[in-house]
Amino acid sequence: MERGKAAGSTSLLSKKVKIEGEIQGNEDLHVEGHFKGSIKITGDIFIGPTGIVEADVEAYNVIVQGQVTGNIMAHKQLQLQSSGKLLGDCAAQSIHINEGAIFEGRSKMIKSPAATTGDKPGVK
């Protein structure tokens, strides 16, 4: 899978840590803890098996092994792996859902980042 544009490091939210608020930046993010609020990063986000995210998430690639309650916007790809759970809508350029994953919500495909503002053929 093509990696995000974040040149920096991978930030980590570990298991027993809870963040409430807003995260922004140009970085990859790995969540094993609990996050509530909103996330907007230009890198990739990986929500690990113990990760719980109650937030709207915007990132380049989004990989979910944990739980997400909220809307996901992946500029490239959304991967919902078998242990993953998504309650909310998603928008992505490409989507990958493994067997066993739980997804309740609407899915919307976006074209390339440049074309998102233009007309969108297909799914409405």
């Binding site: 974040a6 920096g8 490091s9 991978t10 930030s11 980590l12 939210l13 570990s14 298991k15 027993k16 840590v17 809870k18 963040i19 409430e20 608020g21 807003e22 995260i23 922004q24 930046g25 140009n26 970085e27 990859d28 993010l29 790995h30 094993e32 803890g33 609990h34 609020g37 990063i41 990986f46």
Partner: protein, 168 residues
């Protein structure tokens, strides 16, 4: 000095190594090594509250507050605006706000602090900038009570012993 130098080495590795490591290899391979240490990279901005247990290393910026049971390291270049509570606090970056530690606070030579410090143990290295007030009585810190019971507690005020004797 020797003690500070050693401590410094102990906490630094995750912060220094992860950027290179994370770039070179896929994320999953980091799993066992540093999953206990929350790390906020320098390109990340957080607004809100961080709470919980474990160690945290901040290189980015935070507007909000910390309420942590564990070790907090504010790396050089990091910017914190808000109150900080943790067991140990090591500062090499900037903090604007109150720092409360139940064990110790250490200010590195690159630290820039504007605000108060409440901690039973404090060390400040030459070069650190500190504008504010220090309180060292640990009675004012109610962050994590079980941290240091008994011997480290300063003797109570002069009025208290008399009362106790009469009670006994």
């Amino acid at each position: 000095m020797a003690i500070f130098g050693k401590k410094e080495n102990e906490i630094k590795p995750p912060a220094v190594q992860t950027p290179a490591a994370a770039k070179a290899e896929p994320k999953s391979s980091r799993k066992d090594t540093s999953l206990d240490t929350t790390y906020v990279g320098k390109n990340l901005k957080i607004k809100g509250t961080i709470s919980g247990e474990g160690s945290i290393i901040i290189q980015g910026s935070l507007e909000g507050k910390f309420d942590l049971k564990g070790r907090l390291k504010i790396a050089q270049g990091a910017k914190i605006k808000g109150n900080v509570r943790a067991t140990d606090v090591y500062v090499s970056g900037n903090i604007e706000g109150e720092i409360a530690a139940s064990e110790r606070v250490q200010l590195d030579n690159t630290a820039r602090i504007k605000g108060g410090i409440v901690s039973p143990k404090i060390s400040i290295l030459e070069g650190a900038m500190f504008d504010g007030e220090i309180k060292m009585s640990d009675r004012t810190v109610e962050v994590s009570k079980p941290a240091s019971p008994g011997p480290t507690q300063p003797p109570p005020a002069s009025a208290a012993p008399n009362k106790k004797e009469t009670e006994l």
